[in-house]
């Protein structure tokens, strides 16, 4: 089958399902649910068929042309698109299945499922996009779906505020992205990705390195927004206001990975600019450390996971910037799997206990939900980078690419971040499986329903076996599988184990203080629990600045422009009133003035 037709089916089936559900099934929840799930299933099958078909030629048609702008619409079928597309379709489908159970009692189910369909369409459209503008369009649509899904429970003020914040912060990044793309179109006259990447005729041959740095950094702004890198990261923890399956799908596994995906897509451009690489590395490593430190003191289960997503995305970006294309993509895919798993487990707890506080979940018997807890432990171990789970392989590749690239300081900091990751992950695990007081015999705790457990079990297995995809992935990306000696893996393994051990010391053992070692330094603890004051700075500086500008200009409008016009009208009216007074109505005065005028006129005319 022609891959383009298959791709159209993969991408547009969710859209059709979305439109049908929104237009005709607002009351018929079950039909809407079935439609969206059917669409999701079609996408999965199609995406895997595409993946099995292997890489093939890019296909595109001209969508519009106007002057210097020519937008093509089409699909790329290289290893990157195919593999990530399959992962996106699969996780979307799993989350949709999971949502049947999770959203069972929600009265607005149709809207929820329809939005998942919208998201699936936008995300898949982005993954296969062949044109930068086409990618941008779907990128924005993904953001739109994210906006609606974060604010799904729009009656909660915190949810709608979080949705707005997410939209605005990503919009700030997207502004940079849009400017970058417009500049690229203006410079090169095209936005066709394969043509831009071409080593002989592509963008790198057209511009100086300085310009290229500017361009890729502008694009990186968009990536920072979407993939929640410092300083545009603050929306992601807030986005946890959305339903948990949404957090699993959008805000950890797929949508936030879109930024990393774009980076991987434009990898050769970034590689051509030393400065850009350094900037990306610095931002990524700082983000990784910062998010890990905040996660160390956070008690909200979903927020811990959100910060870990930020950190792992930073790892991917660091790997890609250091030249490790395979490492970055591998971590992208495997992270999607195990982070989705962690979120689905978190959702399972939250659904049951109706709280996000992991200490309370532990105290009330979270560990009695055995399947869920197994998933959480395995997912957590994978996140911590313990062998032989998926996360171990990919994190190992990331660290190796950093040290291969010669960025030893960054490598060292990344190791430290990996240690912190292991630490806070197992802090979370121990909070749940080893609560600080013995469990009461509470018979009401039972594991979730099969539709919730099914995806969890599936992803657990995928997490265990995930390391196996390294070979095939390298093959489809046409890259070599690097070989690492056991010795070079040792630091990473030790760091992970150290993290787990310290977590056990602080939180797991029976005489643990459960305060964590940061608690010993109150300054740091305050810094971390206030999230490094980033939000406060935004509030104090940017929000206030915009409000001030708006107020000033509003005054200008009311007092100066409108007021000016009103004053002008007043002056006219006043002049009219004043001149009207000349019309005294006293006839004899009129006559007198007439006589005077005639006399004067006669005098002046006569004297000429």
């Amino acid at each position: 089958m022609n891959p383009a037709i298959l791709a159209i089916v993969v991408i547009f089936t969710p859209l059709v399902a979305f439109a049908t559900a929104m237009l005709f099934c607002m009351k018929a929840h079950r039909i809407a649910q079935g439609l969206i799930l059917g669409g999701g299933a079609v996408s999965v099958v199609g995406a895997f068929l595409l993946l099995l078909g292997g890489p093939s030629e890019t296909q595109s048609i001209v969508w519009l042309s106007s002057g210097s702008l020519e937008l093509s619409f089409g699909f790329m079928f290289d290893g990157l698109s195919l593999s990530f597309g399959a992962v996106v379709a699969l996780i979307t489908f799993l989350v949709q299945v999971y949502s049947i159970g999770y959203m069972h009692h929600d009265p607005a189910k149709t809207r929820y499922f329809a939005l998942l369909g919208l998201f699936g369409w936008a995300m898949l459209g982005f993954v296969y996009a062949v044109d930068l503008l086409q990618a941008l369009i779907f990128w924005e649509l993904v953001g739109l779906a994210s906006f609606f899904l974060i604010g799904f429970w729009y009656e909660k003020p915190s949810a709608s505020a979080a949705a707005r914040k997410a939209f605005l912060l990503t919009r700030i990044g997207d502004t940079g992205l849009l400017i970058g793309i417009l500049l690229i179109i203006n410079i090169s006259g095209m936005a066709h990705i394969p043509a831009l990447l071409d080593a002989e005729t592509g963008l790198t041959t057209m511009v100086s390195e300085g310009t290229l740095t500017l361009l890729v950094l502008l694009i990186f702004m968009g990536i920072m927004g979407k993939s929640a890198q410092f300083p545009l990261h603050t929306w992601l923890p807030d986005a946890m206001e959305g339903p948990t399956p949404v957090s699993a799908l959008l805000h950890s596994a797929t949508m936030v990975a879109a930024g990393v995906f774009l980076f991987a897509r434009l990898h050769p451009l970034f590689m051509a600019s030393e400065t850009a690489i350094l900037v990306v590395l610095c931002i990524a490593i700082f983000t990784a450390l910062m998010s890990a430190t905040i996660a160390m003191v956070e008690t909200d289960l979903k927020k811990v996971l959100a910060y870990s997503s930020i950190g792992q995305l930073a790892f991917m970006l660091a790997a890609l910037a250091a030249g490790g294309l395979l490492a970055g993509i591998l971590h992208l895919i495997l992270h999607a799997v195990f982070k989705a798993l962690l979120f689905l487990c978190a959702g399972s707890y939250i659904h049951h206990f109706e709280t996000n506080d992991m200490r309370e979940i532990g105290r009330r018997g979270g560990r009695r939900m055995r399947w869920t807890t197994a998933g959480l432990v395995i997912g957590g171990a994978s996140l911590a980078g313990l062998p032989p789970l998926a996360g171990f392989f990919s994190k190992e590749e990331v660290l190796a690419s950093l040290s291969h690239g010669g960025y030893h300081l960054i490598w060292f900091l990344a190791l430290f971040a990996a240690f912190l990751t292991a630490y806070y992950t197992f802090r979370m695990v121990f909070f749940i499986i080893l609560p600080d007081r013995p469990l009461e015999a509470d018979a009401t705790v039972h594991d979730s329903s099969p539709v919730i457990l099914g995806p969890i079990i599936f992803l657990t297995i995928a997490t265990v076996l995930g390391g196996l995809i390294l070979g095939p992935l390298a093959a489809i990306l046409l890259l070599d599988v690097p070989h690492h000696s056991l010795l070079s893996m040792l630091p990473a393994i030790l760091c992970a184990l150290a993290g787990v051990f310290v977590a056990w010391w602080d939180f797991g053992r029976s005489r643990a203080t459960r305060r964590g070692f940061v608690g010993a330094v109150p300054v740091l603890h305050r810094l971390f629990s206030r999230k490094w004051y980033v939000d406060d700075v935004y509030q104090a500086v940017f929000a206030r600045f915009i409000q001030l500008m708006a107020t000033v200009l509003h005054r200008v409008e009311v007092d100066l422009l409108d007021g000016g016009a009103d004053r002008l009208a007043d002056v006219t009216r006043w002049t009219g009133g004043w001149t009207a007074r000349l019309q005294s109505g006293w006839v004899q005065a009129y006559i007198a003035s007439g006589v005077v005028v005639v006399a004067l006129a006669g005098y002046f005319l006569g004297s000429r």
């Binding site: 709608s160 417009l182 009208a569």
Partner: protein
């Protein structure tokens, strides 16, 4: 010459006005049906014109030339190019949906529809005529009915708003009329035909002198910063369908006038003044967005967003004149005229609905309206997202093209305007959050959502936005040949 289809389109509102006035008092339903029938007829005819317009050739088509006052060279010369076809379609759409929006009007129905269709006559005339005198004639016909429409059927500070609108627009006309006469006189051709005048090359000093009059005269109607003051207060005071026509098509008359009189007849004057006016337009874009952030009334937010969005049109026109990326800029500007017209029509139609039910337009009075009026809110959100330039909706392409030209011509200015998109998102999201999201407000529990035919006009507009959001080539294919011809003038 075949069927004079343009005159037929123009005849629709003329006949509608006459017919509405002849309806005996008290037969309101008949008035509504007459209006809707004629507007539907005009819509169909406009669609036929769109279909029949030969896009491969471009240029003026469907010409009708009948001498009218030969002594001074006034001719009944109707013809449309790609721009005209698009804008005639816009007017038909807004008229039709506007009539449906005002279906439930109960106060002095007959007079209302008579004035409204009169306004439509003027707008059609401006978009179709190729005669400078007739252009001004129709322009005034379009402007004058606004005064009674706002004064009689308006709300918030309606006397003030109507007077202000009238004064601003008459000042514009006062600048315009001498300029048009000067063009007629200096050309010395003894004709008002814009085709003939377009062939004549005016002296460069004359162009430099007259162009600002034309630009400012039309610019006032286009909501040009800093002479936009009439527009937001006019929007707020006017009844829904008048706001729709006002923001949807009337403001486009100004931009269209700048294009066909200013730029086409006085290209060198336009080039001379373009940098200044481009900067002013850019200021307007950002200024409108900032001021919209502070508004407390739904309609004021939309009013200032119109100032901001019309800034994009004006910016596009000026960038087109500058010639670095003319095709993109002109296409973007004309596309934006259409997209913004549909979008604001949708905005006002929906806000009008909410206002009719809740009798308030103050944003902070609402909260959680999404629970009570999901459909109305969804439609408003679609319009809002279109305003924020979201892909998949028509405005995106228009803004993209103008931004592209701006980045090419003035990179810094262009970047600033693109960054202004964040502001747009801010004021739109602020409305969403304050009015539609949040806890359900029991005060509005009694409100009924749109049903059946109430959805129809809004659904049509939404469909148009989405259609051209995904298939922009339908519009670009129509206007691009005309843009190419326009660019040959430079």
């Amino acid at each position: 010459m075949g069927i004079p289809i343009l005159s037929l389109i123009l005849l629709c509102p003329v006949l509608a006005t006459a017919a509405v006035m002849l309806v005996p008092a008290g037969r309101d339903q008949m008035v509504r049906w007459i209006s809707v029938a004629f507007s539907l007829l005009a819509l169909i005819l406009s669609a036929i014109v769109w279909m029949a317009y030969d896009q491969t050739v471009g240029g003026l088509q469907f010409e009708e030339i009948v001498p009218w006052v030969p002594a001074v060279g006034i001719t009944w010369h109707m013809a449309v190019d790609g721009f005209g076809v698009l804008l005639v379609m816009l007017n038909s759409l807004v008229w039709f949906t506007g009539v449906l929006t005002m279906w439930s009007l109960a106060y002095r129905v007959k007079e209302y529809f008579a004035f409204m269709t009169l306004l439509v006559v003027g707008v059609y005339g401006v978009f179709m005529t190729q005669d400078l005198f007739l252009l001004f004639f129709f322009y005034e016909i379009a402007v004058v009915p606004m005064y009674p429409l706002i004064l009689i059927w308006g709300s918030t500070r309606k006397e003030y708003a109507a007077m202000k609108l009238m004064l601003y627009l008459l000042v514009g006309s006062a600048l315009l009329f001498p300029a048009l006469l000067a063009i007629y006189h200096v050309a010395g051709l003894g004709t008002f035909s814009m085709v003939e005048l377009g062939r004549h090359t005016f002296g460069i000093e004359f162009q430099k002198f007259v162009y600002p009059f034309v630009y400012l005269g039309f610019g006032v109607l286009a909501g040009m910063f800093p002479f936009h003051g009439w527009s937001p207060s006019g929007h707020v005071a006017a009844p829904s369908a008048v706001s729709m026509l006002h923001a949807g098509v009337l403001m486009k008359l100004g931009a269209f006038g700048i294009l066909v009189v200013g730029i086409r007849l006085l290209p060198e004057g336009a080039t001379y003044w373009a940098p200044l006016f481009a900067v002013l337009a850019a200021c307007g874009i950002l200024y409108g967005a900032f001021v919209a952030l502070r508004q407390t009334d739904f309609k004021f937010v939309i009013g200032f967003s119109s100032v901001s969005h019309m800034g994009i049109v004006l910016l596009g026109l000026n960038l087109g004149v500058l010639g670095v990326a003319s095709a993109d800029a002109f296409n973007g500007a004309v596309f934006q005229m259409f997209a913004h017209g549909i979008m604001t029509a949708l905005f006002f139609s929906t806000v009008g609905y909410i206002y009719d039910k809740a009798h308030t337009k103050t944003i902070s009075d609402f909260g959680g309206l999404g629970s009570q009026m999901p459909r109305a809110v969804t439609i408003f959100i679609i319009a809002g997202l279109c305003g924020a330039g979201l892909p998949g909706l028509a405005s995106f392409w228009a803004e993209l093209l103008v931004f592209l030209a701006a980045m090419k011509t003035y990179p810094i200015l262009g970047a600033a305007i693109v960054a202004g998109l964040v502001l747009t998102a801010m004021y739109i999201l602020r409305v969403f959050q304050q009015a539609f999201f949040g806890p359900r407000n029991p005060k509005w529990d009694g409100l009924t959502d749109m049903v059946g035919w109430e959805l129809l006009p809004r659904a049509i507009l939404v469909a148009v936005l989405i259609l051209f959001g995904f298939f922009p080539n339908l519009i670009l294919g129509l206007i691009d040949p005309t843009t190419q011809i326009l660019m040959e003038g430079f």
